[in-house]
């Protein structure tokens, strides 16, 4: 196999089709990768990005279509074969073993044997690991247990593990999802270096803001089909958003008709060391206020601190009344409500019914004397919620985990809105929901604003911020650096502000 030159196409996937129990996840996808390029693969959750890369990693036997690697056709049916052919994948959830040392992790599965059978040659292990790390130019303590390293450095260990073999195609599956801003920059430097060494890098993401920093070409997937492949340099972020959503933005976002009124929420000098510092702002009645920034800039942490879910110094007030810290319960009693970013961990109670999930926030109100609560009262309350939010299936007794992501989100919205809060903190409210539900959530937010509620919107989808918000606060490294008006700001300006501030 001749060494491919930079710019040669090393991977060609054609007409890839993959079904999951009758549901078509990939529908005739074509994808190409050149040596020495970073090819971004973007799309909404469920668009098929990860499935496509799992085909490439040899995780499925039953896909249709052609895969050509270095000019010869291959059929990838197991992960070991894919690895042997030079395909490495770094998954979002790292597979390092925290109790083993860096050297042991890098050579996991290929430890040099010692003299006695079943033993291990430690000196050779360290030497070989050092060779791998030095070649990559990583600075890693070989003797340290991996669990003691930061997430970004664990990521480097995983990369070193993947690159120990002769890997020519490296896939990153949403690597920045759990990284702070500094770590993201480090990771990008490593990716650029890998690219310079002639590797083909596939970079999966649904964060458009990152693309200009790292990508050469970008392929957009939607509903298992390729919408298009373009050069990053001449693609505006707003255009890519439209490609991802598959609708004209005007159809998605309702026209603005809210009028901000008097002050509702006041945040003063909110500080949590390591997350954000000296954050102050005011939210008014009927206002939608956006918090923009890269991952790790402190957006979610600020919202959680206002709710009292995390400790923080500083002062938050609703209509002049101080919100006590460390008690979401009391904050809610004062008229605060929050939609959490991680629906599975912090929102849905998977094993309980829709009715139980919906009613959780208002059981006090629903229950009679001595806490008596007839199952029918709960069901009736749920029926109202199901109707108001058009939840499918309209069955109050359905287990939460059997609902689609979008419908789960509607249930959680229903739970949040049931006590009729005045101030709403929405952290990534449209993450992992279908386009139809997205449009519905946007309309609902606009309605709430028109009713005089104040909304703080945290979102990685900058298009949401620009289209919905009255004002946008830009955060970098935990500090508020700029305030932009929502109307009239375009996405591309906002991207620049989030990244380096000289846009």
């Amino acid at each position: 196999m001749a060494e491919p030159a930079v710019g040669d196409t090393i991977l060609r996937m054609q007409g890839i089709v993959k079904d999951f129990q009758g549901v078509r996840a990939l529908d005739g996808v074509d994808f190409e990768l050149r040596a020495g390029e970073v090819h971004a693969l973007i799309g909404e959750n469920g668009a098929g990005k990860s499935t496509l890369m799992n085909v490439l990693a040899g995780r499925f036997r039953d896909y249709e279509g052609r895969i050509e690697l270095f000019g010869s056709e291959v059929r990838l049916t197991n992960p070991r074969q894919a690895l042997a052919l030079g395909i490495g994948v770094i998954y979002q959830e790292l597979s390092v073993l925290p109790n083993l040392t860096v050297a042991e992790n890098i050579l996991l599965g290929h430890e040099p044997p010692g003299r006695l059978p079943g033993t291990l040659d430690r000196a050779a292990l360290i030497a070989q690991a050092k060779a791998v790390v030095d070649e990559l130019g990583f600075d890693l303590p070989l003797d340290a247990p991996v669990g003691s390293l930061s997430h970004a450095r664990q990521c480097l260990v995983e990369i070193a593990h993947a690159l120990r073999k002769d890997v020519r195609v490296l896939v990153f599956d949403e690597p920045t999802a759990a990284l702070g801003a500094e770590d993201v920059a480090k990771l990008f430097a490593v990716i650029r270096d890998l690219k310079a060494r002639g590797l083909g890098v596939v970079y999966i993401s649904h964060r458009l803001a990152e693309l200009p920093q790292i990508g050469d070409r970008v392929t957009v997937l939607r509903d298992g089909k390729v919408v298009g492949t373009r050069d990053v340099a001449d693609s505006r972020v707003s255009l890519l958003s439209e490609m991802m959503l598959g609708r004209r933005l005007a159809e998605m976002f309702p026209p603005k008709r809210n009028q901000p009124g008097k002050p509702l929420l006041r945040v003063e000098g909110l500080t949590r060391s390591g997350a954000f510092e000296d954050v102050s702002f005011e939210l008014r009645e009927g206002e939608i206020l956006g918090l923009a920034g890269l991952v790790g800039s402190g957006r979610t942490e600020i919202a959680r601190a206002i709710l009292g879910a995390d400790k923080a110094r500083g002062r938050c007030e609703i209509e002049g009344r101080w919100i006590p810290p460390r008690s979401p319960r009391r904050a809610m009693a004062m008229g605060l409500g929050m939609i959490q970013e991680d629906r599975k961990r912090d929102g849905a109670i998977a094993g309980l019914s829709v009715a139980q999930n919906l009613g959780l926030s208002v059981l006090d109100r629903l229950a009679g004397p001595l806490g008596f609560l007839a199952p029918r009262w709960l069901r009736d309350h749920a029926r109202q919620g199901i109707e108001r939010f058009s939840i499918v299936p309209p069955d109050p007794l359905k287990e939460m985990q059997l609902l689609s992501g979008g419908n789960q989100q509607k249930v959680i919205l229903g739970r949040c809105l049931a006590p009729d809060p005045k101030v709403l903190l929405f952290d990534e409210p449209t993450q992992g929901v279908d386009v139809g539900t997205k449009a519905q959530i946007y309309r609902m937010m606009m309605d709430l604003a028109c009713q005089g509620k104040g909304i703080v919107l945290v979102s990685s989808e900058l298009i949401e911020l620009v289209e919905l918000c009255d004002r946008i606060l830009v955060l970098r490294d935990g500090r508020l650096v700029k305030e932009l008006p929502g109307p009239g700001t375009d996405v591309d300006t906002l991207v620049c502000e989030c990244v380096h501030g000289n846009g």
């Binding site: 109670i349 309980l352 009613g359 959780l360 806490g371």
Partner: protein
């Protein structure tokens, strides 16, 4: 209800009927029935009122009262290893209270002793709850240590673990009735229910009411289902968790009173291993470790299966040393089948 709604309700009912969880609890029930049929056919002594009600159900009731409390704890995602020690400590308190109170007559002594015991039960349970909820130590570790501490306390108040007795007048009089007392059913003197069965029924019904028909019950399920999400939804999760342990302590106290009435004697070393049978009943019934689902009816189901097996081994005179092995295997098999079913179901959903 519109026709559409009704159809979906029926569809839902069918899917529920066929769900694995139902199959699992049905299989526990059927296994118990099969054992009963076999025993009835081979042992004429099995299918008698004396054996089934006076013997089997009365014994099961004493454990069942605690199993109700344990169900609260486990649905909320907790665990209580200290119930054996709590019961021992409570029974010691009952007897110690009766000793000085006996001269005042049964109608003064017994209610006061019962009241004191119930308070001690709630106190010990709350101690567990407070340590778990407010200090934030793992329930397994907390109740493992209180298991030793409570028994140690019982030893201290009985001067180093001496066996203590209820005063003779009560022991052979009113106090004895708590376990041995019987009530005629259907006006027939041959069909009698024992006091422990009636107490168990009362505890069971109150528990069902609390879990299914109150706000508190919904909170218990929510905390077990996803404690983090429940906290963020504005629930006082610490209080809910602590309350389940207090309830569990209370049920231990109720059982302790009944247990100490059996012979009228008790000691600090009594009721060892009780926690394991109680936890086994809850788990075999189908309430998962980790909580979030389960019910008292499932616990009753598990309790009856284990009690029938215990009774059968007595009927067939199985050697004591093999009984433990059989019990151990039953728990293992039921839980393994449950785990297998759960995995299959998760895979199908994916």
């Amino acid at each position: 209800m519109s026709p559409d709604n009704r159809r979906s309700a029926i569809g839902n009912w069918q899917s529920r009927l066929l769900s694995f969880r139902v199959i699992q609890s049905a299989s526990v029930f059927l296994l118990m029935l099969a054992l009963c049929v076999y025993a009835a056919a081979t042992k004429p002594t099995f299918l008698t009122w004396q054996n089934l009600v006076i013997n089997l159900l009365t014994k099961a009731s004493c454990l069942g009262i605690i199993a109700c409390g344990m169900t609260f704890v486990m649905i909320a995602g907790g665990f209580d290893l200290s119930v054996g020690s709590t019961t021992a400590a409570c029974s010691v308190v009952t007897v110690l209270m009766l000793q000085p109170l006996a001269p005042h007559g049964a109608w003064v002594a017994i209610p006061l002793a019962i009241l004191a015991t119930l308070l001690v039960g709630i106190l010990l349970g709350s101690a567990n709850g407070a340590l778990i909820s407010y200090v934030g130590v793992n329930p397994f570790v907390v109740t493992l240590s209180t298991m030793f501490v409570f028994r140690g306390l019982a030893m201290i108040i009985t001067s180093g673990g001496l066996s203590i007795q209820v005063p003779v007048a009560l022991k052979e009089g009113a106090f004895r009735k708590i376990y041995w007392g019987q009530v005629n059913l259907f006006g027939s003197p041959t069909h009698q229910a024992t006091i422990p069965i009636l107490v168990f029924l009362a505890v069971f019904l109150v528990s069902v009411y609390l879990l299914r028909f109150t706000r508190f019950g919904h909170y218990v399920y929510a905390v077990g289902g996803n404690e983090n999400a429940a906290w963020l939804a504005g629930i006082n999760t610490s209080l809910v968790k602590a309350a389940t342990y207090a309830i569990c302590g209370l049920t231990c106290a109720i059982s302790a009173i009944i247990f100490s009435s059996i012979t009228g004697t008790t000691q600090a070393a009594s009721h060892e291993g009780l926690e394991l049978i109680v936890i086994a009943s809850v788990i075999v019934g189908g309430t998962p470790l980790g909580g979030g689902s389960g019910s008292l009816f499932l616990t009753l189901n598990g309790l009856l299966l284990l009690s029938v097996i215990e009774n059968l081994m007595g009927q067939f005179r199985v050697d004591e040393k093999y009984r433990k092995i059989v019990q151990g295997f039953i728990i293992l098999v039921v839980v393994a089948v449950d785990g297998f079913v759960r995995r299959t179901r998760a895979r199908q959903r994916r």
